[in-house]
Amino acid sequence: MFLASVTEFRVSSVASPVSLPVTVDADSDHELMIAVRAGEIRRLGELFERYHKPLYGFFVRLTNQPSASEDLVQIVFYRILKYRHTYRDEGKFSAWIYHLARKVAADHFRKHARTPTPADPTDFHDQPDQDPAPDTQAGTADDLALMRRALARVSHEHREVLVLARLQHLNHQEIARLLDCSVGAVKVRAHRALKELREVYFKIRKEQAA
């Protein structure tokens, strides 16, 4: 196992425009955060520019609620400011920010579990505004819409692993640290998640065909 694979993001083989910047300089992230911790609050702006889109993507994929996801990103950065003194020197900033993001997402789901609003992501595909327009329901666009809906229906636990590994391009070691479990457990979960996604995907396709 390469040390780099533990400390660096895996560079995706598939070019993904809104995944983490390929040229992320972890040291620079760390230095920026140290400066923020020391009181140079405005330096957080640079970190915001680097991370707000990946975080937004993470929340949208997880919650399927674009508007709420913006709020969640805002909450993450608010917590960074509030708890900036707890940032450790040895800590890796990307790990820390995803740690905060997961907690924010967990709070969000807990809050919505209490309220009667339609929070179940499996209901998401029934919302008309997220359905692809009829004229785009062909070829690749159709495929993507199908995949989006399938991902929304996968269980929360599996969806989280899929988003972190396949869309946010965190490696298994980082995910293991985030989920507080072993790397082996992450791999097993990732494999099962892909299987579930495939089942859901073909089920929806069958439903659509019918």
Binding site: M1, S5, R10, S12, V14, S16, P17, V18, S19, G39, I41, R42, L44, G45, F48, H52, K53, Y56, G57, V60, R61, P66, S69, E70, V73, Q74, F77, Y78, L81, T140, D143, L144, M147, R148, L151, L162, R166, L167, N171, H172, K187, V188, A190, H191, L194, K195, L197, R198, Y201
Partner: protein, 305 residues
């Protein structure tokens, strides 16, 4: 490598993190196993579809605006010093300007302040002289009060002794008797108590102790009369002998008729009769060694005259 193990390695193989020999074994298995081939291609396909998913739509400009607004607020809070700290620093500067900065001057200043304080205290905090007179008055009153209290306590002591004589057990009554012997000058009341104990106490031992207690005070008339009265009533030979010897010792000439009667009484104890005879002899021969003992004006010695 069996099918299960191969499929367990799919994720690592997909990521390119599988060891070289394991990858070779996996490829070899795939080439010969249609089931695993299907499974692998399905996994690859769904992964490809998933990763082909375009990233979520761009967040709205609202997010950036809100973030920078929050950032500005926090930066201002961090920059601004609290008004309390500001006021404190101003106070500090004020006193720093007011007070000397060199330690020697600070020390001198502190000494001067102490001297002024001591002087002021000495000048203004002494009690006014007019207060002395009332204090003296109070003193006198207090002394009077103390004297009264002392008298009361003394009376109380006598009362206690009397009550002890009347109520307590024999041994306690004896203890009280012996305690009265320690009194240098017991008052008349105590002596009366002891005399009445000599006359009335049912216990021979208490009566003997009473005689002993009265020995040092036999120069007093009340004691002598008490002894004489007790002797006429006394029946216990031990006490009779003690009284006779005491009366003879102090030359109580009024006891002579009593001694004579006792010495002739056939019914009395032989020892008592002998003692009475000796007492008579003592009373009839004036003591050359102690002529002053008859100076008692209440008992003018007939032998001298």
């Amino acid at each position: 490598m069996n099918c299960q193990r191969v499929q367990d390695h799919f994720i690592d193989y997909q990521d390119g993190t599988l060891a070289a020999e394991d990858s070779a074994a996996l490829r070899a298995h795939l080439a010969s196993c249609p089931t695993c081939q299907r499974e692998w291609s399905a996994l690859q396909e769904i992964t490809r579809k998933l990763e082909a998913l375009p990233a979520a739509e761009e967040p709205s400009p609202r997010l950036r605006e809100q973030f920078y607004a929050m950032l500005e607020t926090h930066q201002r809070e961090a920059d601004s010093v609290s008004p309390f700290a500001l006021a404190r620093s101003r106070l500090d500067r004020f006193f720093a300007a007011l007070l000397p900065s060199t330690p020697a001057l600070q020390f001198a200043g502190a000494l001067a302040a102490l001297a002024v304080g001591v002087f002021t205290g000495a000048r203004y905090l002494t009690p006014p002289p007019s207060a002395a007179a009332p204090v003296a008055v109070v003193d006198q009153a207090a002394q009077q009060k103390i004297a009264d209290l002392e008298a009361q306590v003394k009376d109380m002591g006598s009362l206690v002794a009397a009550s002890l004589l009347q109520q307590k057990s024999t041994s306690e009554r004896i203890t009280t008797m012996l305690a009265t012997m320690d009194l240098k000058s017991p008052d008349r009341r105590v002596l009366t108590d002891v005399v009445s104990a000599l006359a009335l106490d049912p216990s021979v031992n208490v009566r003997l102790a009473a005689v002993e207690a009265l020995t040092d005070h036999a120069d007093q008339a009340v004691v002598r009369q008490g002894l004489l009265a007790a002797l006429t009533r006394e029946t216990a030979p031990l006490v009779q002998v003690a009284i006779i010897e005491l009366l003879a010792d102090v030359r109580e000439f009024d006891a002579a008729p009593l001694f004579e009667r006792l010495s002739r009484d056939e019914a009395t104890d032989q020892n008592v009769r002998d003692s009475a005879r000796r007492g008579l002899a003592v009373l009839r021969t004036p003591s050359p060694t102690d002529p002053l003992k008859n100076n008692n004006p209440s008992n003018p010695a007939p032998a001298v005259s």
